[in-house]
């Protein structure tokens, strides 16, 4: 059996049973590696369940800083008998599998190209710990101990992390250290440590943090000055609201009055959640909600009202596998079309596509600014992979000069000096009217309505008056295209520009595309320019980019090539020039997938 020597560059996958307390042990493992200065990311594949079903945690260690799934597993920690078979099958040839050897394994489950490491985790913990709960929990900590020896993790780092976690509960600290030592000692006594897969300290995580995108989006909303939140619990968006609430408890309680400078309301459903957001934005607060696909469907009627009546709103859609209830704990980019055109009639919405937790933070301010500048809903299309998984990102920098852009709002003074105020007049020629807020001045009073209205804000059933307003709304979308963030173009650094092919994508595909481009260049398959779209309506640069290439590979995570559809419809591009590359199995797209898809396509092109 040959085993490649992999230093700071491999994947650990931990197969657990959910509700067994593995999450904190797996977090400890990942954070230890991060503290050793080695780039690392963690992805959680969990069931829509509270206790008893299979769950996996995948840790990618990459000295080169690649943050996506590679598509391979080098070391499996197989703690779930139910999935043992499949877990063993998933290990790379030459890889390792660690299992709880307290009970005998089925002899049939063998692979000659995988090294099996048995550690009697349950047996050791049953002997060492009294309470039933500790026996279960410490089993997880004990396998971390074994991995400390097997992978050469810095024991001092582990100890420090445990001290930080249990600073207020010293007895738990002792139990955890005991479990770590048991696993560590067993591994040292029974295996040749470290394995050929091993870790060595680096200095590549300085100036970086480990965080998930729902946390940074929630914090980003605090920093955007959002004050009102209404929401209905739905996986995987709930933790975004939790983050906002927790940060507000820490940062937004008035030190003098002890009153809250924020208002979080748990709604009875998503219809009500978006309704409250519209009511609050109409009344001058920055308000938002967060949901996922099913919630977006329920919010559609109100989103149409907000589009037509021109009410700002911010909605985070943390996408999950659809259709219908789908797989609530798996990721996809499947709401692109339903978000772009949410609601009946000629309705369109501004979308933002963050790629990672850093984007989630900064795009929060962009979302609120755009919503108020354009007086329309802005939907931030993030996904479960970005929102709930742990990403290594550069530290967030804050620009102290930031002032929220509230758009065109007449204040009391403005209104006093006007003869009359009319809500929907295109005063400035950019198709964005001026608004007034309730309670400010009687002259600003008008009636918001989803029924036909003319440019003065009055009710109408007159064809010309109706058309005048909806035509302006269409022009407003042109203005939006000039205000949204421009796409990011990455040119190939190798060789002369190749105008036969390019890559185009959105959101969380970015990490996998970065690595895939690197691999494709090194394998001399192709040197591809790459454009990442940040927003809809599409910025003019998107069209200009696509125009340059014979064919553009459109990578996205849904079955129906929704981004590709939107591009061809909205930019009037011949669909045959847009080659779909679709990953929609619910797992974050891997670099392997993209490398294979691109290679296949290029070979086909060359063969033709």
């Amino acid at each position: 059996m040959t085993t490649a020597n992999k230093l700071n560059d491999f994947v650990i996958k931990l197969a657990n049973v959910n509700g067994s307390g593995s999450a904190s042990a797996n977090g400890l493992l990942m954070k230890s590696i991060f503290r050793m200065g080695i780039p690392v990311t963690g992805k959680n594949f969990f069931p829509s369940n509270i206790q008893g079903l299979p769950t996996w945690y995948e840790i990618r260690i990459s000295k080169d800083g690649f943050l996506c799934r590679s598509g391979k597993v080098d070391l499996m920690v197989a703690m779930n008998a139910e999935t043992y078979d499949a877990d063993l099958a998933e290990v790379n040839s030459g890889g390792f599998l660690l299992y709880d050897s307290t009970w005998p394994r089925n002899n049939l489950l063998q692979r000659n190209d995988v090294t099996i490491l048995g550690v009697p985790l349950s047996g050791m913990c049953n002997e060492a710990f009294e309470s039933a709960r500790a026996k279960v929990l410490m089993k997880n900590v004990a396998y971390v101990g074994a991995l400390v020896a097997l992978l050469d993790i810095d024991m001092a780092v582990v100890e420090t992390l445990l001290q930080e976690t249990f600073s207020s509960k010293p007895q738990l600290m002792d139990a955890n250290m005991q479990a770590i030592s048991m696993g560590y000692d067993f591994a040292c006594d029974h295996f040749r440590c470290p394995l050929p897969l091993r870790l060595e300290p680096m200095n590549k995580t300085a100036g970086h943090v480990l965080v998930d995108g729902n946390t940074t989006a929630g914090l980003g909303a605090v920093y955007a000055g959002a004050t009102v939140v209404s929401w209905y619990p739905i996986t995987p968006s709930t933790s975004l609201i939790d983050a906002f609430s927790i940060f507000c408890q820490q940062l937004r309680v008035d030190p003098d009055t002890q009153k809250n400078n924020y208002c979080v309301i748990q709604a009875e459903d998503e219809l009500s959640a978006i309704g409250m957001v519209l009511g609050a934005n109409w009344n001058g607060a920055r308000a938002f909600t967060a949901t996922s696909g099913p919630g977006l469907s329920l919010m559609s009627e109100f989103l149409g009202l907000a589009y037509y009546a021109e009410i700002p709103a911010v909605l985070y859609d943390v996408q999950r596998v659809s259709p219908s209830t789908g797989m609530p704990t798996r990721t996809q980019q499947c709401d692109i079309l339903s978000a772009a055109y949410a609601s009946h009639g000629d309705t369109k919405h501004v979308l933002l596509f963050p790629a990672d937790p850093l984007d989630c933070f900064h795009m929060s301010q962009i979302a609120f600014d755009l919503a108020e500048q354009l007086q329309t809903p802005v939907i931030v299309l993030t996904d479960l992979d970005i929102g709930m998984n742990d990403w290594m990102i550069p530290e967030i920098k804050w620009d102290e000069t930031y002032v929220p852009n509230r758009g065109k709002v007449y204040n009391a003074e403005d209104l006093k000096h006007m003869d009359a105020f009319y809500r929907y007049l295109d005063v400035d020629g950019d198709a964005i009217p001026w608004r007034s807020l309730p309670g400010v001045d009687p002259k600003g009073a008008y009636f918001v309505r989803g029924s036909g209205h003319n440019k003065h804000g009055g009710y109408t059933e007159n064809s010309d008056e109706y058309r005048e307003v909806v035509d302006r709304l269409r022009r407003k979308f042109d203005t939006a295209a000039s205000l949204v963030p421009a796409p990011i173009v990455s040119r190939s650094k190798k060789g002369a520009p190749d105008y036969r092919w390019a890559l185009l994508s959105i959101g969380s595909c970015d990490a996998a595309i970065r690595e895939a481009r690197h691999q494709l260049e090194h394998a001399n398959v192709a040197n591809l320019d790459y454009l990442r779209i940040l927003a809809f309506p599409f910025h003019n640069d998107v069209f200009e980019f696509i125009r340059q290439y014979d064919q553009v590979f459109v990578v996205e995570q849904n079955r129906d090539a929704q981004l590709r559809q939107l591009l061809s419809v909205e930019l009037n591009i011949d669909p045959s020039r847009l080659i779909p590359m679709l990953s929609y199995d619910g797992m974050p797209v891997s670099s392997d997938f993209i490398v294979e898809a691109v290679t296949r396509q290029i070979m086909r092109g060359q063969a033709a």
Partner: protein, 351 residues
């Protein structure tokens, strides 16, 4: 006559209220409802109530859903912002608006279809949150704009214009509201403005969710014999429980009536609601008694009106949430955006 613009000129001798406004300052656009519609009488009573309370029209926010009733906010308080939202969803708009600015006074106008069918969930949850607003249900038992289908408030056996009887039991918004813990519940009749105005004034002054269910006959689709929501039927079967009057703390109203027959309840701002018990056994501060009273009379085919339940010391939404006294919409950015150092402290935990 809805195409005629109202002239702006008003009679110089029109009485003015405390803030120097006349009743004309509380008017809105010309109504487009059918001649004789109960809803128009309610709009008139609303204008009268705001005029008498001397509130600035622009410090009121009007919200509504969809339906005949939801059209009416255009027809009163033209100086106030209005929001005609989607069907059955006005309570969420009102809740969000109130969350953003607790300093305005909110009036929500809805109908029996809007509140008791498509919007029953939002109606119930706005009550649970005790959103500080006055919520009117202009209740006529039918869908008017779609030409006369029964609504959820139609009594069992009540007949439609074409003669078919409603086979389903009604939802009584008043009983529902009391059971949900609503802190102000009253029922009025559009044909009885004298009693309606003080009920509206009390509802406006209540700190919390004030439900006012107003029987408001639909002259076009539900005012025939056999309908239990007609003018004639309501007049014949209405049973007034209490006569409510409202005064703010600067005035003395009790001098005009016999002492001892009034019960006074102090509202949050010092205003007083006085109740004359028409039925001596009825006490509007006793929740359980109120429910049985309404049920007993309902069983006899009677419609109980008046102020039916009031909890003067209720905690409205912001009090429960612990919100700042200053409106969320008015908070300065310095209080909202924590800055660089706070961000650094937070990120230190992510290493």
């Amino acid at each position: 006559m809805s195409f005629i613009k109202k002239p702006k000129i008003s009679h110089p001798d029109l009485p003015k209220n405390k803030i120097g406004l006349t009743i004309r300052d509380y008017e809105g656009a010309m109504s487009t409802l059918c001649a004789g519609c109960g809803h128009d009488s309610i709009s008139t009573a609303i204008m009268q109530a705001y005029f008498e309370l001397a509130l600035q029209p622009h410090r009121v926010a009007k919200v509504s859903g969809i339906g005949c009733s939801s059209k009416t906010p255009t027809y009163f308080l033209g100086g106030a912002h209005g929001f005609n939202s989607v069907h059955g969803r006005m309570p969420s708009i009102a809740t969000g608006a109130n969350a953003a600015n607790r300093e305005l006074q909110y009036i929500g106008v809805s109908g029996d279809g809007d509140s008791l069918s498509i919007g029953l969930g939002q109606f119930a949850h706005a009550i649970r949150r005790n959103v500080d607003m006055m919520y009117l249900i202009e209740n006529n038992g039918v869908y008017g704009l779609t030409k006369g289908q029964f609504s959820a408030s139609a009594d069992k056996g009540s007949t439609a214009k074409k003669g078919n009887a409603n086979p389903y039991t009604p939802i009584d918004p008043v009983l529902l509201a009391i059971s949900l813990g609503c802190t102000f519940v009253a029922r009025g009749f559009s044909g009885d403005k004298e009693h309606l105005v003080p009920l509206i004034k009390s509802a406006i002054t209540h700190k919390g969710f004030a439900l006012l269910d107003i029987i408001s006959p639909c002259v076009t689709f539900n005012d025939h014999e056999g309908s239990t929501k007609s003018y004639a039927h309501t007049r014949a079967h209405m049973r007034e429980t209490v006569y409510a009057d409202f005064t703010d703390h600067h005035e003395e109203i009790l001098t005009q009536v016999e002492p001892g027959k009034f019960k006074e309840i102090k509202m949050h701002d010092g205003g007083i609601v006085g109740f004359k018990r028409v039925d001596k056994t009825f006490d509007p501060t006793d929740r359980i008694a109120a429910i049985s009273y309404i049920e007993e009379h309902r069983a006899k085919g009677e419609v109980v009106t008046g102020l039916l339940y009031l909890e003067p010391a209720s905690s409205e939404m912001h009090a429960v949430l612990g919100s700042s006294e200053q409106a969320m919409a008015d908070l300065p950015y310095e209080k909202l955006i924590p800055g660089k150092d706070a961000l650094a402290r937070i990120q230190a935990r992510w290493r």
